[in-house]
Structures are given as C-alpha cells and as structure tokens.
C-alpha cells in the first residue's frame, strides 16, 4: 500500500468504538495507585481515612463541578460556532471591506492567549446589561463562557474559511452556469460539502474548549478545579492529598476527551479528501 499509493487506496479502517485500550486503563490505574500509595504511606502514620475513601466521598461534589465544566464548554462552543460561521462566511464575502474586517477579527482572537481573552471578558464586560427597561445580570460563569467563545469563534471562522476554499472553484462556476444565485450556491452546494471537512477539526476544537474551561477557576468561577482545592481544604489541607485529587481531575478530563480525540482521528481518515 506504500508502493502504489495512487492506484491502490487502502480501505478505511473499520470503525472501532473509541474505548480506552486495556493498556491505557493499566497506566491510569498505575498512576493513581502510585499517587494514592504515596499519600497512603504518609497518611497511615496519622490514622487518616484512606485516600480512595476520601476521593469516593467527594465524588458527587466533584462530578457536579465536572458537569458544570462540560456545560460551559457546550455553551461556549454553541455561541462560538454561530459567530464563527458568520465570521468565516465574512472572510469569503464579495465585499473587500467586509473580508478585511473579518480577517482581522479572526487573526486577532486566534493569536491571543485563551487566558488573556478570559481576563478580557471577565474584567471588561459589565456585571449586568440593560436592554430597554430590562436588566439582565451577567454572572461570572456567563462572562467566562463568553470569554471562551471568542477564541472558539476565531478558530471556527478559520475552519469554515479553509473548508470553503478547499472546494474546487469549478463548482462555483458550474452552479453559476445553472443559474444558482450566490447565496443558493453557498447554502445548497458549497456548505453541505464543507460540513464533512469541518467536522474533525471542529471536534478537535471542542475538546480544546473542554480542556480550557478549567481556566475559569483562575478568574474566580467555581468549577471543578475550584472544588478540588476546596475539597483539599475541607480534608485538612494535607499536602499528600493534592496529587490524588488533581490526578482525579486529570482522569475525568481524560476519560471525556480521549474518546472525542479517537473519534476525530477516525472521522479524519474516513472523510479524507479524494482528488
């Protein structure tokens, strides 16, 4: 298959459910056992409850935090995608001025660090907005969500632009010769083909957003990482508990993001562009 890549295309690998291999489980368990064991060894002398029991006891609270993280990521992804598609379409607009503005916005928000954008949103957005006579409060988590949706917007815009430009230009011309208007060409011919190409990088982006949501703890939004440090304080602030607790958070995110990553790789292979 390496010798004749042009003639023989390897069939796409059959879809395997994105489960963790046994070896990943093994390594994870090993890591946890090591961290727990080290903590256990130090805690045994002082007759503390076992580390695993502690983790188990706080699991409902920590899971609540984790679900909140997921909720933030989903909301940020939804807002960012809608704005990003508009911005991406703006980058291929017929108007040169619109193109330039869209390009600038995309580059600006793509090249700024996520954490800086988060600070930006937290400090510069008002804590409430007045629309007409109605006051809408903007709590911290909502501002953080908006902060996350800014880089999502810029990255989605790049994905959309790239996908649209990867469609051969002949299709635009063919549609034009069939008397499709520009808008109908875009909606009925170009974008449906783009969806397939946009899906893998878009999912990649989602897993990046999910992993970025923990940054909200830095600017004072209560989410999983904040809860982790609160749990640590509630357990008496024992230093040897920190590694298991943060390891626990790592594992939660790993279990959520790893299948997404595997699915992305699989889709990438399946949707590979054939020219």
């Amino acid at each position: 298959m390496k010798v004749l890549p042009v003639i023989l295309r390897p069939a796409p690998a059959p879809w395997r459910a994105p489960v963790l291999d046994r070896r990943h489980g093994l390594f994870l368990a090993l890591g946890l056992v090591l961290a727990v064991g080290a903590a256990e060894a130090q805690g045994a002398a002082a007759a503390h409850p076992s580390v695993l029991a502690t983790l188990w006891r706080w699991t409902p609270l920590l899971m609540e935090g984790f679900v909140f993280n997921i909720a933030i990521s989903l909301l940020a992804m939804a807002i960012g995608t809608v704005m990003g598609v508009l911005l991406g379409l703006g980058q291929v607009a017929p108007s040169a001025a619109l193109r330039r503005v869209a390009w600038f916005l995309t580059q600006f928000f793509r090249n700024a660090p996520w954490l800086v954008l988060l600070f930006f949103a937290m400090f510069l957005l008002p804590f409430e907005v007045r629309v007409g006579g109605v006051t809408i409060p903007l709590p911290g988590w909502l501002k953080a969500t908006i902060g996350f949706s800014l880089p999502v917007m810029a990255n989605t815009a790049e994905i959309v632009r790239g996908a649209i430009q990867s469609i051969p230009f002949g299709q635009w011309e063919a549609a034009e010769s069939l008397a499709f208007s520009r808008r109908r060409t875009l909606w009925m011919i170009i974008l449906p083909q783009c969806v397939k190409r946009m899906l893998p990088p878009w999912m990649n982006l989602y897993s990046l957003v999910t992993m970025a949501t923990v940054l909200a703890s830095v600017v004072g939004v209560t989410e999983m990482l904040t809860l982790v440090s609160e749990v640590h304080a509630a357990e008496g602030g024992r230093a040897e508990l920190l590694a298991p607790l943060y390891g626990y958070a790592l594992i939660c995110f790993f279990l959520y993001c790893y299948p997404i990553g595997r699915l992305t790789v699989h889709l990438e292979r399946r949707f590979q562009v054939r020219i």
Binding site: P113, W114, L124, L225, A239, L250
Partner: protein
C-alpha cells in the same frame, strides 16, 4: 527620554489613558522583566519540547512493543488532559510529594521552583504534540530513502539522525510552527502558579494602578507581537532549510 515619559503623563491627564508601564520607572522595570520571563519560558520550552518530540518519535518507531506503548500512553495522557490541571498536578501534587532540601541558610525549600515546574509541565505538554507531529513527518519520508541508508550501512539510530530526521523536519515544519505558536500562548498558564511572566506582572500592575483596559490591550498587543515574531522566525528557518525538490 524624560520628555517622552512626560508625554505619557500628559496623555493620562488629558485622556485618562494610564500607561504606567511607560512613565513609571518601577512598573516599567516590572513589565520588562515579565516580558523577558515570558520570552525565556517560551525559548526553553520550545527547545525542550522539540527534543521530547524528536526522542519520542524515535522511540515510537522502536521494535520493542512496550516502548511504543509507553510513548503512546504519554501522548494520550498529555494531549487529552487540561494543561492547567497538569501544571497543578505537577507543582502542587508532585511538588508536595518530593522531599525538601535545605538551602545555604538552612531553610528547607522545594527541590524545584515554580518556574522549573512550569517549564517541565509545559514542555511535556507541547512535547506530546510534537511527538505526533514528528511521527507524521517521519512517516512521510519515502521508505526507499531509509532502505538506501540501510544499504549504505547506517544503523537505525544514525539513519534516523542523518537521513530521516532532516527530511522529516522539513516536512513537518508547518505543523510544528502551529504547535510552537500554541505553546507561546500556553505559557500564560504559568500565571496560575505565580511565575512572574507577562500576564502575572500585568495583573500586579492593574491591581496597583487600576488601569485594567489599558493593560489588557497592551497584553493582547504584546502577545500578538510575540506570536508574530515566532511566526517570522519560523518562516526564516523554513526558507533557510528549504531543499529544492523536497517537501511541498
């Protein structure tokens, strides 16, 4: 120079734009040291992560099953977990488990400082991505090239260093570029463990002078400048390494 500073004082009085980092000697010094800390962090992490990528990609092509699996697990673990939690895990978690050493004054202090932990965890994070990038580059090197090197009596290691890697490096430069830009942006996370880099210094300054919008805009511009500089340097490297007939 005093006239220049005075102009910014005048700007503050006239428009309310308070750029203490220019006219105030103390803030200026802080910001410059923060900037250099960010640059240092970037350069060290880039070097280490590229090294991790090169070594990891070599190990991934190993004949030993367990070596390959180990590398694979390393990549999966570091790619699919939040870098901030990684930093916390290393700094707070592992840092607490490590023994303390006594310094020259007899005061116990941690083995690794927060800067060293930040460098370590950021390098591992970016390195995990680099392994994948280098591996895809190595896979793109024609097999016949490796076979030709073998026929000339190269060992696996020497063929890797002298034949495969130089070609693979050129092929994967664009992807590497992307990852390095990402790394530059990720160095802001070191803020969370009080590494005095640009974001941390900016936060200190806006706490003192309450000039949040100005510092925010300055930070964004500074990072755009840094990222632009990195892209420019990488573009130069790409052009300097170009071999006619190789690559895209």
């Amino acid at each position: 120079m005093e006239g220049f500073y005075d102009w910014f004082r005048w700007l503050y009085d006239a428009t309310g734009i308070n750029l203490t980092i220019i006219y105030d000697a103390f803030d200026r010094k802080r910001m410059i040291s923060g900037f250099w800390m960010t640059v240092r962090l970037c350069l060290i992490c880039i070097a280490l992560s590229v090294a991790i990528g090169v070594v990891g990609a070599w190990l991934q092509g190993s004949r030993l099953k367990w070596t390959r699996r180990g590398v694979q697990t390393f990549i999966a673990l570091f790619r699919d977990t939040p870098p901030l939690v990684q930093i916390y895990f290393f700094y707070f978690g592992l840092g607490a488990l490590l023994p303390r050493v006594e310094n020259a004054y007899g005061i116990p202090e941690p083995v690794l400082t927060n800067v060293q932990w930040a460098v370590l965890s950021l390098s591992l994070f970016a390195g995990a991505f680099n392994v994948e990038i280098f591996r895809s580059g190595i896979e793109a090197v024609p097999k016949a090239t490796v076979e030709a090197a073998e026929a000339l009596g190269y060992s696996r290691l020497r063929a890797y260093i002298h034949v495969v890697l130089p070609l693979a490096f050129r092929i994967c430069l664009p992807a590497l570029n992307n990852n390095i830009v990402n790394l530059v942006k990720t160095t802001t996370l070191a803020y969370a463990i009080a590494v005095p880099e640009m974001l941390y210094v900016a936060k200190q300054i806006w706490s003192d002078a309450t000039n949040v919008p100005e510092m925010m805009v300055f930070l964004l511009l500074a990072y755009v400048f840094l990222v632009g500089w990195v892209v420019w340097v990488m573009g130069r490297i790409e052009r300097a390494l170009k071999v006619p007939g190789i690559g895209l």
